[in-house]
């Protein structure tokens, strides 16, 4: 009994097949478009939730208004969107303990120790006619202010930037620099004003 040698299969065509599949996936797909600014909406209103917290001190609120012409006013002062970040940063950090900027409360935080947490809240009001682009820009600048403060705090206490910290340290930094934006019901200029 002599062993018969099996003839080798011609596999050259399988490369063609997989090329075909590859081209199909290349054409039908889009690479990673799922990116953006994540936000959480407040839970739906129930009868238990109080209408407004009247006891919030005026110094703890940063009023950001965006009108239908995409102009921004911060606490009554008109400014371009490029200055909003520094204003918000100053508001959240209050480095000189200015009495017109938010108060801070010392809270014990795991991994950091006692930290003066700001009580500041950004109140964001936009007009129904505000463009979505401006809305995202404002959200972006506020987020940037908080991210820079978190980076600074992370560098100070953990020696690393916020992004590269482990999740426990990230939680600690997030507790130290909370991001509180409250969105007021939008204004409608076209209904109230003379057109």
């Amino acid at each position: 009994m002599s062993k018969r040698k099996t003839p080798g299969l011609n596999t050259g065509a399988s490369a063609d097949i997989s090329f075909l599949l590859l081209t199909f996936f290349l054409l039908t797909s889009s690479i990673n478009t799922e990116q953006g600014i994540p936000r959480k909406l407040p839970p739906p209103k129930t009868d238990d939730t109080p209408e407004m917290k009247a006891d919030i001190n005026k110094r703890n609120v940063l009023n950001v208004l965006v009108n239908y012409l995409d102009q921004i006013s911060v606490n009554g002062e008109v400014m371009p969107v490029s200055e909003l970040k520094d204003k918000a940063k100053e508001f959240f950090s209050n480095p000189t303990n200015d009495p017109s900027l938010p108060e801070k409360v010392n809270k014990p935080i795991d991994g950091i120790g006692d930290f003066a947490v700001s009580k500041g809240v950004v109140s964001l009001t936009n007009d129904q006619g505000t463009s979505y682009n401006m809305y995202v820009q404002v959200q972006n600048e506020l987020q940037r202010a908080v991210n820079e403060l978190r980076d600074e705090t992370a560098l100070q206490y953990f020696g690393k930037k916020y992004d590269v910290l482990d999740s426990a340290a990230q939680r600690a930094v997030t507790a130290a620099i909370p991001m509180s934006i409250s969105e007021a019901p939008p204004m409608d200029w076209s209904k109230n004003g003379a057109q």
Partner: protein, 160 residues
Amino acid sequence: MSRFKKNGKKETPELNMGSMSDIIFMFLFFFMVITTMREASLKVHFTPPQATEIQKLEKKSLVANIYVGAPISKNENTLPPGEVSVQLNDQTIKAEELVADVRDFIGTEKESRDAQDRDKLTFSLKVDKDVQMRYVNTIKQELRKNNALKINYAAGKRAN
């Protein structure tokens, strides 16, 4: 000397193509893993706003998209006064059915996920940058009413 030379012509040996398919398959799997299928064809013009502080969403299977923008064709349903359409799945919705449609959309999206994933479901608002906030506010209100609180403002990456 000449006894070693059998022929003047040397035959080139055939290349083994077997491993080539392996390489291509590797490419294929790479693309399959990093890509998502576009499940619905767009009915609205959508140019995302540019931002710097964007984050990538972790799990693509836990994202539901809501498109808002100017309609591409004239036959699409629009919201009054007729310049903006809202697209859920592969249809633009009628103004009078907006509330019911958004509620159904949230319901079906939540139901198609496992129970433990339902809270992680993110609704990505893919809104054209020129749309006025009134349309976005309406949709946000509906999302809030239906307890779909995790949202994402889709945006492109800007260097600075």
